[in-house]
């Protein structure tokens, strides 16, 4: 066994004393763990940058955080909170990522980090998703575009420790010194040309019975060959061949298709089933069980579940918003608004204001809330796409009346999230159903359920007042008032989740205020700036939706910025330049103005709009062109909303240090389509206590006939040394730019979003039965 490196190098004595982990920006201590093959580890809380305000909110009660850290320190197994890179005997590296891959590309970027420090090709790094690991506490929450920000250093440290251990072992095998060795492509070569592979060294480099601490130096940016190189997704081949498995694709023995029949009003509850025996006798049906959220059916196929759900005759108790509609909820939100300060309106100081309404929107992904649950008397196993698996495990254990260690929660790659999978509604329901039926279940929410009962981005209003004097903005006040955003997933484990769940919404409000305060800013020199949040009404199923508060806040801001520019008779782009105080923002703004040909001559009814945004340690700017001419808005597409079309988008982002530019570009392209949907087409309609939408032809997310034919994303080279967030960064600036362009093209500033909300563009499907039957005419519609 080679000697471990001397940890008491006098050069580093002081730094070591100051921190057990970070020696300097690139030197860290990790561990080779005890074991039969090489397992290298690092502490997940390692970081060489302060935590991102946007993504790691300050707890409402800091003492709790302190106590939790104490708890962590006192934990019985001091290495339990480590993340590990394992070198396998086939020469590949494996890493279990304690985050959820939902399409944002973190398995790819994580494989790149491991590959970089290990000098191994990306395709020989296997990244899987870790099951719920309660010992990680806050460190298993996927949200706030925080994954890369928080894991960038620790993952590299673990990989670098593995590389160091491999080099130590190779030195002995090859009879050379570590300094004389070169590691490349998973092979270590000595000065005399002899070589040995990582696979051959995996056992020899292992920690054996003891394990040890190892100090490593991470690569400098100049040495990067993988980080920053455009790389295709590691799961693309599986996806395009149909081999990528999502929850409902998993074959868990005995877990038959299961669906739930739900109440005709939102969150209504079942009282009695009138025809249970009749439904139990239907073809394929094995079980019918009343649970807290509805009546569950289990059958040989999902088709037979649909038949059974539709046949159920259930007595329901109305849910908490029975009788309510968009209009009544908006009135309640308006009543909760704080008074805006009285601002002067004199020839010397004038007030420019805006008052905007944002309707409910759905964060439903393609892959509906689904989960497999196998609940036995002595324990339970769950499979689902989960971004907060620890609190899911805790809540499920609570629901089942089991201790937490009896519940295994496996995290499955999911078909999108957009905030939805911060919650675990499907997993909790599947566990309850499996327990009630006494058999394993594969629960899938029908699309209608996912749209109607799933979580929404809350309805809200955003008011802005700015005081202008001559060519200066003296004050800028912004006040967002909305239906409560549910943050009861806390920071991913039950202690903070319980803090968020304190009575009367007090706890959740603390979270909401914290997240609002830590994410929102007005990125201009506008004198005295205030931004406030008021939340009201906790009766809805809400949650974070991609970019949380920012899209609405930024739209309101940027529309008023355009009004301010008009007031000062300035060009919107030049106005944004003049009041800009951030060099990075100036650069992305200038980039889109130039690349997107700001100010070019355009026909009447078409226009450009420009907007900026700053969040996730990055900055972005978007320039769009929109066509609102009748020939475009009058396009006829069956069961669709056409309307104005965004024809061209130029988007620039400085996201700090970029791991995978190709993945970053993809995330921006997706965010652009989200921004367009929020501005023009997609909202939920509440009528008589239930959301009407039950189909993708009811909820009008951007489709091919809405998407811009010309999209250009520019990743601006950054001076920043640390990565920023990518997953949500494309939404806000695009939404705002589309709104500004629409206002300029039509000559009327829109005050409600999406702009088409007042027109119901579909025939609502039935609420009893709660889900539509599948058609039978598919063979007549081949193409």
């Amino acid at each position: 066994m080679p000697d471990s490196r001397d940890l008491h190098d006098p050069r580093d004595a002081h730094a070591l004393e100051a921190s057990p982990y970070a020696v300097d920006r690139r030197r860290f201590v990790g561990y080779v763990l005890a074991g039969a093959t090489l397992v290298a580890a690092a502490d997940l809380v390692l970081a060489d940058a302060p935590p991102a305000g946007a993504a790691v909110p300050t707890l409402p009660q800091p003492a709790e955080l302190y106590d939790l850290n104490d708890m962590l320190t006192d934990a019985a197994r001091p290495t339990a909170n480590l993340i590990t890179v394992t070198i396998d005997e086939d020469g590949t590296a494996s890493f279990e990522l304690p985050r959820a891959e939902v399409g944002q590309g973190i398995t790819t970027s994580t494989a790149m980090l491991v590959a970089e420090e290990l000098d191994l090709p990306v395709e020989r790094v296997r990244v899987t998703l870790a099951p719920a690991r309660p010992e990680l506490l806050f460190n298993q929450l996927t949200g706030g575009s925080n994954t890369t920000i928080s894991t960038y250093t620790p993952i590299r440290v673990a990989a670098a420790v593995a590389r160091a251990a491999l080099l130590d072992a190779a030195a002995i095998v090859l009879g050379d010194t570590v300094a004389g060795l070169v590691a490349k492509g998973g092979v270590i070569t000595a000065r005399d040309g002899s070589s040995v592979t990582y696979g051959e060294l995996a056992v020899r480099a292992a920690g054996g019975a003891g394990g040890r601490a190892v100090e490593v130096e991470l690569k400098s940016e100049a040495e990067f060959t993988v980080i920053g190189t455009p790389t295709n997704r590691v799961d693309a081949l599986a996806a395009v061949t149909g081999q990528k498995d999502y929850t409902t694709d998993l074959a868990v023995p005995g877990a038959l298709p299961t669906m739930v029949c739900r109440a005709p009003t939102l969150n209504g509850t079942p009282v009695a089933v009138r025809n249970q025996a009749q439904v139990e006798a239907m073809p394929g049906v094995t079980h019918v069980a009343q649970v807290s959220t509805g009546v569950a059916v289990r059958a040989a196929t999902f088709g037979q579940c649909i038949d059974a759900v539709r046949a159920l005759d259930v007595v329901w108790k109305d849910g908490p918003v029975a009788g309510e509609s968009d209009a009544t909820i908006l009135r309640k939100v308006r009543a909760a608004q704080l008074p805006m300060p009285a601002l002067p309106d004199t020839p010397l100081a004038q007030t420019v204001s805006g008052d905007f309404t944002f309707w409910f929107r759905s964060n439903s992904p393609m892959d509906t809330n689904s989960a497999i649950a196998d609940v036995r008397p002595d324990g339970a196993t769950i499979w689902a796409g989960l971004k907060s698996p620890i609190v899911a495990q805790q809540r499920i254990a609570e629901r089942l009346g089991m201790s937490q260690d009896r519940v295994t929660v496996n995290v499955v790659t999911a078909g999108g999230s957009f905030g939805r999978r911060l919650f675990f509604d499907g997993a909790l329901e599947a566990a309850e159903v499996s327990q009630a039926m006494g058999v394993p279940v594969k629960l899938m929410w029908h699309r209608a359920d996912d749209a109607r009962v799933g979580r929404t981005h809350p309805l809200g209003t955003c008011r802005v007042q700015a005081t202008v004097s001559g060519s200066n903005v003296l004050a800028f006040n912004q006040s967002l008032t909305c239906v409560e955003t549910d943050f009861r997933h806390g920071l991913g484990e039950i202690i903070t989740a319980a803090a968020a769940d304190l009575p009367a919404g007090v706890g959740n409000l603390g979270f909401a205020e914290t997240i609002f305060a830590l994410t929102q800013e007005v990125p201009y020199d506008f004198g005295a700036v205030t931004q406030t949040l008021v939340e009201t009404d906790d009766r809805f199923n809400t949650g974070s939706m991609r970019n949380i508060y920012s899209p609405d806040v930024r739209v309101a801001s940027e529309l008023v910025v355009d009004k301010l520019a008009a007031k000062m008779k300035m060009d919107p782009y030049q106005f944004r330049r003049r009041f800009q105080r951030n060099e990075r923002l100036l650069k992305v703004l200038d980039t889109v103005a130039q690349a997107g040909e700001w100010g070019r001559s355009m026909p009447a009814g078409t226009a450009q709009g420009i907007a900026i945004h700053k969040e996730y340690k990055g900055v972005s700017a978007c320039l769009v062109e929109i066509d609102t001419r009748p020939a475009t808005t009058g396009r006829q597409v069956r069961d669709a909303v056409t309307g104005p079309r965004v024809t061209r988008v130029t988007f620039a982002i400085d996201a700090g240090l970029v791991i995978n530019p190709r993945g970053l570009e993809a995330q921006m392209q997706g965010g652009i389509n989200d921004g367009i949907a929020l501005a023009l087409t997609s909202s939920l309609h509440l009528r008589d206590g239930h959301f009407l939408e039950a189909s993708w032809d009811n909820y009008f997310y951007t489709r091919q006939w809405n998407t811009p034919p010309d999209v250009r994303v520019i990743v601006v080279p950054s001076e920043e040394k640390v990565p920023g967030g990518a997953g949500e960064a494309g939404v806000a600036a695009t939404f705002a730019a589309v709104a500004c362009a629409y206002a300029r093209a039509t000559g009327t500033m829109p005050t409600e979003f999406p702009i088409n909300h007042r027109t119901l563009s579909f025939e609502p499907k039935s609420f009893v039965p709660p889900i539509p039957q599948s058609p039978v005419n598919g063979l007549e519609l081949t193409s």
Binding site: V102, G103, Q104, N232, R233, D235, A236, L237, A239, V240, T241, G242, Q243, Y246, T248, D249, P257, G284, A300, T301, F302, G303, Q304, S364, P365, M366, D367, T368, A414, G415, G416, M444, R447, D639, R662, A666, Q667, Q669, G670, I672, S695, W696, D697, Y701, T702, R703, Q704, W705, T707, P709, P772, S774, P775, V776, N777, G778, L779, L781, T782, S783
Partner: protein, 164 residues
């Protein structure tokens, strides 16, 4: 229980199931062919798009009893088999799948099997009309992608068409 016989990905299969069960569930729940995804069950989202006798269709809207013994169903798993071996690309896949890989279209990937199957059928149809795929053709695609991968889908279809 009635027996249902048809051909899927080149193999004749017989399944014991009621004839009104939609083909999507026969494929997914009984045959374990999970490439076609569920996204709505009402022929709207198009995530289950597959081919029947070479044309795009949605198995969520077809009772299995309507299939004849010699009807050929192709799912994403069998797509490479729709072209001759020499037409397949570096990964041994259909040219459209290869274009999809090269353009790194996929994000979450859930809708992508359906997107690819729809794209192949669209290109075949346009080629049969003796013309190139246009922006207007791309605008007719109804397959929804909630990740918003439309830009790369459009690029990949144009690229894939040139390889087909």
């Amino acid at each position: 229980m009635p027996e249902q016989t048809f051909i899927v990905n080149g193999e004749r299969v017989t399944v014991d199931v009621e004839d009104d069960v939609r083909l999507l569930w026969v494929l997914r729940d009984l045959l374990g062919i999970t490439g076609p995804k569920y996204g709505c069950g009402i022929n709207v989202c198009k995530a289950c798009t597959s081919h029947i006798n070479g044309k795009a269709f949605n198995p969520c809207a077809v009772p299995v009893g309507e299939l004849a013994d010699d009807d050929e169903v192709t799912t994403i798993e069998g797509l490479p088999g729709e072209v001759a071996e020499q037409q397949r690309g570096a990964h041994g896949l259909h040219p459209m799948q290869e274009a999809w890989l090269e353009r790194d279209v996929v994000q979450c990937g859930y809708c992508q099997p359906g997107q690819i199957m729809a794209a192949v059928a669209l290109v075949n149809r346009v080629k049969a009309e003796g013309r190139q795929v246009t922006g207007a053709d791309l605008d007719t695609i109804r397959n929804i992608c909630r990740c918003g991968t439309y830009t790369r889908i459009r690029e990949a279809i144009t690229d894939g068409a040139s390889r087909m």
